[in-house]
Subunit: 341 residues, 2 copies
DNA sequence: TTCGGGAACCGAAACGTTTCGGTTCCTGTG
DNA sequence: CACAGGAACCGAAACGTTTCGGTTCCCGAA
């Protein structure tokens, strides 16, 4: 009894009009009188007509699908605070407009490359999101070569692609000012994976903010955004002859690693050293001491990215957008500089 | 210069054969001699022919896409250890077979319903994964009504849908035996959201394992799989006149919440109370004391689910599969029962 | 030598839309 | 009253495959 699908032809026949008129009527295109439009809509509803997405794709040369390929090891993905909210935001924007998201993950760079190529060759998606951009990212050239519409998320200021950004500077500046106000003069930095664009951006923001506050940069450790990386950084920094009294970490996970390591070395946080993170992951509120951090809003970023990509697909051009700044959230892992330092 | 796409017609013309022969040749169907098949393949490569997925979909009545709709609040998603690995596993299985995954999230139940309906109406996907099944889940009836092929992940034993399962029983039994061997006689349980099928399964497994070890169930608290829920459970259980000496939690997150709360009440873990979790999230290795837990393998589950769904789509029937059991991982949060208890 | 049968190949319909050029008809203007 | 112009509507091509029925041709058996 696999009931045959009701097609536009059925609607046309039943309404006594041409197929093309049904198409025009249902898509709000001109060339059909208001009265027949109403009749057609009526008939379409009666019949429960749902246009075939596949036929639309073939005819209309759009897939009504956008792609996100995540360049990340699945194990790392587990702890990533970004994607849950980001994807939810994307959907909020694209679902009402009839688009769906295809998601792919690739651990290695060449896998990611292949995924993009295949996505483009198959014309499976009408556009893609570019996240986790690297410095001089070859993927940018790739999507340009492939001619697939793309929006860059948190790219640099000179992005050749349309971009949506959340400025980290404001939050980082607030953090540095917060630390300075607490009397800290020696503020270290634990970086993220250095080839990642936003690692660079955050570190630069930190330097700029220090300069603004009249401070000179403390020691810098290159990390990798992981818990273990943060712990290793603590081992290094806190063993220095003149250890920092405060540390900014490139993300919360490494900040938490840092704190745990510090405490296991018998160094109290925030009594002896203040620690600030970045991201505002939920665990930051559970950890002891609760983490002072900079709150980012992946969901808003996703929503704007989604909106923008579809605008780009449908109109061919868009303006860059900026979501509200990341802001400082003060909790318990930062405190006044210990006396005598 | 939007170069026209090279189609099967171009290949046919260039090879001097009919379009239908090209189709047969490239899809490994009989009816074309080996020599012309080779020639056709040759020509197709020369021309860089990539069959149009859209045309294939329309003609062949398959979308080469499968769907996963996640019923979860995006904020909860952030801490969820399951989906990163699960999705990665799905992809491992489906990508080589030419399928892609569309992912959707819905915070509310009715949203999820709508998503499934739309997916089916649009024929956007050829099949779906059903995760986070509830007791008597109405979604099962929905996908059956909608006639969309579906595989259930960790469903009950009497699933009307083909299912892939990872048995939690083995791991939970091991855990209970481990606790019993440490001398514990009063083992409490902190459950998950009670309408979720796997909450029920885990609790039943716990009861069964206790019985096997000749123990009677300790107090049970209904939780919600969250950190805060675990903390609340600790507050309740540890204030009991005769508190348990060991606790099994339905997942790691609530176990970590439990431990934190216990310690802030001055009750040492594992000195005074042993705590075991479930999932084996990465944080469990970082937390102090490192968490004894049951390791699940979402990635394998994803891989098998993906394989199975595509088999189901293409052949119409499949057998249930089971991935290797979840196993106990002993770390530092469990210890011998304190003397005198 | 004839005939049957299968392998190889072909042509066209079908999938379900959108789009575009063309026809009809009505209205207003001169 | 004639005619231009535009609104409403129609028909068919196009999108790029797969599939199915039909034709050709060759080979082996009788």
């Amino acid at each position: 009894m696999a009931a045959r699908r009701v097609t536009i032809i059925d609607v046309a026949r039943r309404a006594g009009v041409a197929v093309s008129s049904v198409s025009s009527a249902l898509n709000g295109r001109p060339g059909v009188s208001e009265s027949t439009r109403e009749r057609i809509v009526q008939v379409a509803n009666e019949l429960g007509f749902v246009p075939s997405l596949r036929a639309k794709s073939l005819s209309g040369r759009r897939a009504f699908t956008v792609g996100l390929v995540v360049h990340r090891d699945p194990d790392v993905l587990e702890l990533d605070p970004f994607f849950g909210g980001f994807i939810a935001g994307i959907e909020e924007a694209i679902d009402p407009r009839g688009y769906a998201l295809v998601l792919q993950v690739g651990a290695r760079g060449d896998e990611v490359h292949q995924r993009y190529r295949k996505l483009a060759a198959d014309r499976r998606v009408d556009g893609v999101f570019m996240v986790d951009l690297e410095v001089d990212d070859p993927l940018i050239a790739l999507v340009q070569e492939l001619q697939v519409p793309a929006v860059a998320v948190n790219s640099g200021d000179d992005s050749p692609l349309p971009a949506v950004r959340q400025d980290a500077n404001a939050g980082i500046r607030e953090t540095v000012q917060h630390l300075a106000a607490l009397g800290h003069r020696r503020v270290a930095y634990v970086g993220g994976r250095p080839h990642l664009l936003h690692s660079l951006q955050r570190e630069n923001a930190w330097r700029a903010a220090l300069a603004e506050s009249g401070l000179t940069p403390g020691p810098v450790v290159t990390g990798d955004f992981t818990y273990l990386g943060g712990a290793a950084a603590a081992a290094t920094l806190l063993a220095l002859p003149d250890p920092p009294t405060a540390v900014m970490c490139a993300n919360d996970l490494s900040a938490i690693g840092f704190i745990t390591q510090a405490e296991s070395m018998g160094i109290d946080v925030p009594g002896k050293v203040s620690v600030a993170g970045f991201d505002d992951i939920q665990f930051g509120t559970y950890v002891r001491p609760a983490l002072t951090t900079v709150r980012t809003t992946p969901r808003e970023l996703g929503r704007e990215s989604g909106r923008m990509l579809i605008d780009l697909i449908e109109t061919g051009e868009v303006d860059d957008v900026t979501v509200p700044d990341a802001r400082l959230v003060v909790r318990d892992s930062t405190a006044p500089v210990p006396p005598g330092r």
